[in-house]
């Protein structure tokens, strides 16, 4: 999920695209509402439209919408900081008479007033992928348990490193303490058996097994830069946690350039097809796979059911949200840990 999170540097790009997009979307919303009155309108609002995760999510939602006879309207913001576009998308959907809105909140707190207004207007709102804060602000949440995803690769890494003294490098998303970044990083450390001190903060750990931490922006270039800096700082690193698979791919480039690919194990999270192929080739040791298509399809089904008879989905117990599942993908299984091989991963990957 994290490589869809954009840094604020793109704000300049965003403002231009945002204006054009909003004009376009507004006109679409008004134009189309006359047609298809028989079908209930459901909106899908993603963080960006330039990321395979959301592309797959949209495709999954569209497929389900066709199946169920739902008029699906998709909107996208331009990254993590772009709460504004998402607020406008919600307003436009409410104005268009939507029955349900599925949203992957860019800012889990700032989006709440817009969601409140939509729900007061009788629209059911479901959070996909990222929970809102508080989670009770929406009718339901379908998401990956990111902390669990982190714990799974943490446990795998612990089993894999048995007998060696671990020297861990952490490649995170950003310095901004973003929620998904925290959940994955802290989950990994917990799974590995490291005291995370404040579980809501990255980087406050005092464990000598952690030898370095850098931020990557969750993309290849950032992953490479960060890994190079960490290797420069400490050449004995033998385990690398990465926020997502693009960052892992970049880190692998740096490790390969240093000739250390045999000595360093990389773990990651996402389940994108390029990432799973990297598991198959051995560049990534293990990854936790999430299921965006399932999130979107379940969300659309719930919205369609709500439009039909007013039903609302109930959260799976103990999570506060409906867990759409996460699978550990590796070709070197660790005993006592359930995992799938990369060929299974290739059949179920996204992007």
């Amino acid at each position: 999920m994290a490589h869809r999170v954009k840094l604020r540097h793109r704000a300049l790009a965003v403002s231009s695209a945002g204006i054009g997009l909003t004009l376009l979307l507004t006109s679409c919303g008004n134009g189309i509402s006359g047609q298809g009155d028989d079908k209930p309108i459901v909106g899908l609002v993603t963080k960006t439209d330039d990321n395979p995760f959301y592309v797959k999510m949209r495709e999954g939602a569209q497929k389900k919408a066709r199946e169920l006879g739902v008029d699906l309207r998709t909107f996208a913001g331009k990254g993590q900081a772009d709460n504004d576009s998402q607020v406008k998308a919600i307003e436009n959907l409410v104005a268009a008479g939507a029955k349900g809105i599925l949203i992957t909140p860019a800012d889990s707190g700032a989006i709440i007033p817009a969601i409140d207004r939509a729900r007061k207007a009788g629209v059911m709102v479901i959070a996909l992928d990222s929970p809102t804060e508080p989670a009770s602000a929406v009718d339901a949440t379908f998401a990956t348990d990111n902390r669990l995803a982190g714990r799974m690769i943490g446990k795998w890494a612990k089993g894999r490193m048995a007998g060696q003294r671990p020297r861990i490098a952490l490649l995170d998303l950003s310095s901004e303490q973003v929620k998904v970044d925290i959940l994955r990083n802290q989950g990994f450390l917990e799974g590995f058996g490291i005291d995370v001190r404040d579980p809501k903060r990255i980087g406050d750990e005092r464990d000598s097994r952690i030898v370095g931490r850098e931020v990557t922006g969750a993309n290849e270039e950032g992953g490479r830069d960060a890994m190079e800096k960490l290797l420069q700082k400490n050449g004995s690193i033998n385990l690398v946690y990465t926020i997502n698979e693009p960052a892992a791919a970049g880190a692998y480039q740096a490790i390969k350039a240093a000739g250390k690919q045999k000595d360093i194990t990389i773990v990651s999270i996402d389940g994108g097809c390029p990432g799973v192929k990297n598991v198959a080739s051995g560049a990534i040791g293990a990854t936790s796979m999430q299921f965006p298509v399932k999130m979107a399809a379940e969300g659309v089904a719930a919205a369609a059911a709500h439009a039909k008879d007013g039903d609302k989905p109930s959260a799976s117990s103990g999570h506060g949200f409906t867990n759409t599942g996460v699978s550990l993908i590796t070709d070197t299984p660790v005993s006592g840990l359930e995992s799938k091989k990369s060929d299974w991963g290739l059949r179920h990957c996204w992007g």
């Binding site: 330039d50 931020v215 480039q253």
Partner: protein, 345 residues
């Protein structure tokens, strides 16, 4: 050397001779006539500071070559940006052009089975075409560069996503020629990548174009005073258009370097290149108001950012301080530019 970068008719000589002033004024005059002096001093001081603070891990030849590798994409895109800024413009689409060109190279070679050299050429040409489009918007339609490239930024980004279907081509599938710039040779025990060498070559070539050719003199003249340049017989529209095309071609080459550096072909890559390139240009001492500056300053500017980023990372400082420092550097650089300009006033 720096005198050559300023066309004779573009700058008035200082009214007072330097030796009649105090040391501060002499320094100011020196910085005015030698635009590379400021960034060079900053780079040396920063390197010295981190060598002392961080120790041998910073001044290690391997780390130096690493810093060069890390700034090479910004450096390349920075060359393109410098050309535009010298004409008193700004190009917000350089990053988008670079990513589009890299996706074209990757898709054409990997998915469409085009011979790799042809795919490579196609990517560079697409870069030139995109630059040309910017040039036409600026010269023919008289759209201010900021607005024109703000528009094409979105257009090129959207095309990239349509064309790539937002999918990344992973490193293992990329043909060797496309990732060739990332390979390295051993020079005195350090890894030097081909792209680092090529980047330095590009800087030298563009520095020569700017200094040693009529095109370079015309470019400076247009940037310093477009109306004056037109009255002195320069075909300003044609010069401007050619600058945008050259900038686009350089972005196309940068795309190749980008693939070499990150291994894969990602439509998400290089999203911060626009602002980073402007940062390198500004810290490198090129005036955002056009006409004054040096392309080699941009090389120094990107190295300054690289040195700070590496030095702060190696000393274990939080990544936010790197962002903070770069911001301060930009402000100091522009303030210095304003101060230096006063010498001519």
């Amino acid at each position: 050397m720096a005198h050559d970068t300023v066309p004779q008719h573009a700058t008035d000589p200082p009214t007072t001779r330097p030796e009649q002033r105090g040391p501060l004024a002499r320094g100011q005059a020196a910085l005015h006539t030698k635009p590379l002096l400021g960034p060079l001093v900053v780079l040396l001081l920063a390197s010295l500071f981190f060598s002392v603070w961080v120790g041998s891990r910073f001044s290690d030849p391997l780390n130096i070559s690493l810093i060069v590798q890390q700034v090479q994409i910004i450096g390349m895109v920075g060359i393109a940006q410098t050309l535009i800024v010298l004409t008193a413009g700004i190009d917000l689409s350089v990053g988008a052009i670079t990513v589009l060109a890299s996706v074209v190279m990757g898709k054409a070679a990997v998915d469409q089975g085009l011979p790799v050299p042809l795919a490579l050429l196609l990517g560079v040409v697409i870069g030139g075409v995109c630059g040309g489009l910017n040039g036409v918007l600026v010269t023919r339609f008289r759209i201010p560069p900021f607005i024109a490239t703000l528009g094409t930024l979105s257009v090129f980004s959207a095309l990239t996503l349509f064309y790539s279907r937002s999918e990344t081509i992973r490193a293992q599938d990329v043909p060797p020629l496309l990732s060739w710039p990332g390979r390295s040779i051993d020079v005195l025990g350090t890894d030097v990548t081909y792209s680092s060498l090529l980047m330095i070559g590009c800087f030298a070539a563009v520095a020569y174009l700017l200094r040693g050719t009529a095109w370079g003199a015309h470019l400076h003249a247009v940037g310093d005073n477009r109306e004056g340049a037109r009255l002195s017989g320069i075909r300003t529209g044609r010069v401007l258009l050619s600058v945008y095309v050259v900038a686009g071609l350089i972005c196309g080459l940068a795309a190749w370097f980008l693939i070499g550096r990150i291994g894969s072909v990602s439509p998400q890559a290089g999203e911060n290149l626009n602002l980073q390139s402007i940062t390198a240009v500004v810290i490198g001492g090129t005036s955002l108001f056009g006409g004054r500056g040096h392309v080699l300053g941009t090389l120094l500017g990107s190295l300054i950012v690289g040195v700070f980023s590496s030095g702060l990372a190696l000393s274990g400082v939080d990544a936010l301080w790197q962002v903070f420092t770069v911001g301060v550097l930009v402000i100091v650089a522009v303030a210095a530019d304003q101060w230096i300009r006063k010498v001519a006033a």
